[in-house]
């Protein structure tokens, strides 16, 4: 059987519907099956990436109806890159969480596995679909699973964070629905390529209304200021692997929606300036909030929002270098932030009140986890031998090309803030020994392997950034090439009579 993009959606769905039956056969199956699915996702990504590098685009039509009439799935180098990134991360997160909790009820972990797997599938669906309403449906899949996962644990305030997320997310989906509605009255289609083709026929007033609705709607998922109130709570209350998935996967899908709308659907230049301003405000506020956090996961969450602000700035600059830098940043943020959340939640398991100060000197007891956390921290602030350095450098280069001096100063200034709060944590891990740690929660071997793979990736990409830069350049070029996307989807669209 030939591998096509629909496998990304069909295989996890078969697994999700079958897991309740399979778990009647053997209790271990519902832990293993999501892993198999995630691994199969990697295979799909590998095959499709190889193909897309040769041909440029892959479009698959569903139910036999050609592009503007049916739903089509699109793999471009840009979306293929994100889908592969998510697949790999999804597998690593599964590896990390396999037998994550020591004592847990069977029914509970069964729903956990299904929800986690479907959240990743929903995120991939957002990225590969070529139809705007289909994107909305996948967004709802992500929202519902994310909310259920946030409120998964009983003991914490998960329900509160979950309700908050649901409220803001429900608002976001209402706005996107409204935007789709107005868009439909103007162009009479839901296919993204055809919308983009007909975009110039919409009067400017209505066009900007639609754009605002879309930006606010997707901005919520992409953690844009001031729409990110849900994020720190959700990150800090969700189970550890889920926080990693939020940072690595859900946010990426939100950013993708924003970028696809602004870059491909619309042809309004002012949107780019808006992205820079929104990104700048998001970044500055988030990084300064991160400094005063006492809870480690909350701190990581704010730092994640700040990084997303930087990504928005890079996309806002809009040149080829900048888009390339933004993609590189997204890649780095995905792997590094996942690593930080994975190691961070193991560290947090060993503190009673979940604060940074209660893990003083734990490096002695947990040497591997601590060193990996430290590497992640160094990488994300952009210290030279690690991969984070290159992405920040490229962003600065892109800003310098456009002579945006203030922007460069702001980014550098914020980096100093970042260094301050990350080094504070690393410092406490290693050089403070006033607390005796008894009864240490050790990570299992598979968690160590998952974290180790991420750490090695960070170091390898740090030394050989060329491993992925060529590919990212290609993806950036194609993302900026709006008309070829339209042509590819619509050229084959002679009416079938």
């Amino acid at each position: 059987m030939v591998i096509t993009p629909i496998h990304y959606i069909v295989v996890p769905l078969i697994a999700a519907f079958a897991i309740p039956l399979l778990s009647k056969i053997h209790k271990e199956l519902f832990r293993i099956v999501p892993g198999i699915v995630m691994f199969y996702n990697i295979i799909i990504s590998f095959v499709l990436m190889k193909e897309v590098n040769e041909v440029g685009y892959i479009s698959e039509i569903i139910a036999g109806w050609e592009a503007p009439w049916g739903i089509n799935l699109m793999i471009t180098p840009f979306s293929g890159f994100l889908a592969s990134l998510i697949s790999v991360l999804g597998f690593l997160i599964w590896l990390y969480q396999y037998r994550f909790k020591k004592v847990i009820d069977v029914d509970e972990i069964k729903s956990y596995g299904i929800l986690q797997m479907m959240m990743i599938t929903g995120a991939i669906g957002i990225i590969i679909t070529g139809d705007i309403f289909n994107l909305f449906v996948f967004m709802e899949i992500v929202a519902i699973t994310a909310v259920s996962l946030t409120s998964f644990y009983r003991g914490r305030d998960g329900a509160e964070a979950g309700f908050k997320y649901l409220l803001i997310g429900g608002f976001a989906s209402a706005l996107i629905l409204l935007a789709i509605l107005i868009l439909y009255t103007q162009v009479g289609t839901l296919n993204m390529a055809e919308i983009a083709e007909k975009m110039h026929t919409i009067p400017l007033g209505i066009k900007s209304t639609i754009l605002i609705l879309f930006i606010v709607g997707f901005g919520i998922e992409a953690e844009m200021f001031p729409l990110n109130g849900w994020a720190p709570d959700a990150y800090s209350q969700a189970p550890g692997p889920t926080s990693a998935a939020f940072a690595g996967i859900v946010v990426k899908a939100g950013i993708y929606g924003l970028i696809r709308v602004i870059y491909t659907l619309f042809d309004i230049e002012g949107a780019f300036d808006f992205l820079i301003i929104a990104g700048l405000v998001t970044m500055i506020i988030a990084e300064f909030s991160a400094v005063k956090q006492k809870n480690l996961k909350r701190m990581l969450a704010y730092s994640s929002i700040g990084q997303m602000g930087l990504v928005l700035i890079a996309f806002g600059i809009g040149t080829k270098t900048a888009v390339f830098a933004a993609l590189f940043l997204m890649f780095n943020h995905a792997i590094i932030k996942s690593l930080l959340f994975m190691t961070g939640s193991i560290l947090m398991y060993n503190s009673k009140d979940k604060t940074i100060s209660s893990i003083h000197g734990i490096a002695k007891n947990l040497p591997f986890v601590s060193i990996m956390f430290a590497i992640g921290a160094f990488a994300i602030v952009g210290l030279p031998p690690f991969s984070g350095f290159w992405s920040k450098l490229y962003v600065l280069t892109a800003a310098a090309d456009k002579e945006m001096i203030m922007l460069i100063i702001a980014i550098l200034g914020v980096s100093i803030v970042e260094i301050v709060y990350y080094f504070r944590v690393v410092n406490k891990l290693y050089f403070a020994t006033d607390i005796e740690h008894l009864d240490i929660f050790k990570p299992s071997n598979n968690s160590l392997i998952a974290m180790g793979i991420l750490t090695i990736t960070i170091i390898v990409i740090g030394f050989y950034p060329d491993l992925i830069t060529g590919y990212l350049h290609n993806a950036a070029d194609i993302l900026l090439d709006r008309s070829s996307y339209i042509d590819f989807v619509l050229k084959a669209n002679v009416p079938i009579q």
Partner: protein, 131 residues
């Protein structure tokens, strides 16, 4: 009965369009007011469902065509396709209603759990996390 209404829809077009659009926008605003102002969690969820209802009415409203019939071929009227209303918004609303129900159900289950934990359903008394 629907044929009768069709003629009237054509005749009093302005009033009807105000009736449909105005009601829909009114529903959205009322729901938004509830979400922003109300402290009770159940009331907030009610607000969300009212916003959804408004958007669904808007969808059906934009899909309507003066003098159109429902997009179903009944026996004997096989050539009715030219007079049918736009079917796509209707299909989308069908999806949106079911999704809205799912979201409401999840929201209410969270409300129940919050009530069990905090013994209150008021938003200003549930703030272990900063709201």
């Amino acid at each position: 009965m629907q044929e009768e209404f069709n003629e009237i829809f054509l005749k009093y077009h302005d009033i009807i369009s105000l009736g449909v659009y105005g009601t829909a926008i009114g529903l959205i605003l009322i729901g938004l007011y509830a979400v922003l102002m109300k402290k009770n969690l159940v009331k907030i969820v009610i607000g969300l469902t009212i916003i959804d209802a408004g958007i669904h009415l808007l969808f059906i409203g934009i899909g309507y065509i003066n003098g159109g019939t429902a997009p179903i071929f009944s026996p004997g009227y096989e050539d009715a396709a030219k007079r049918m209303v736009d079917p796509i918004p209707q299909a989308l609303v069908l999806t949106a209603i079911v999704i809205g129900f799912a979201v409401t159900a999840v929201a209410l289950s969270l409300v129940i759990r919050l009530y069990k934990h905090h013994h209150t359903a008021k938003i200003d008394q549930i703030k272990s996390l900063k709201w």
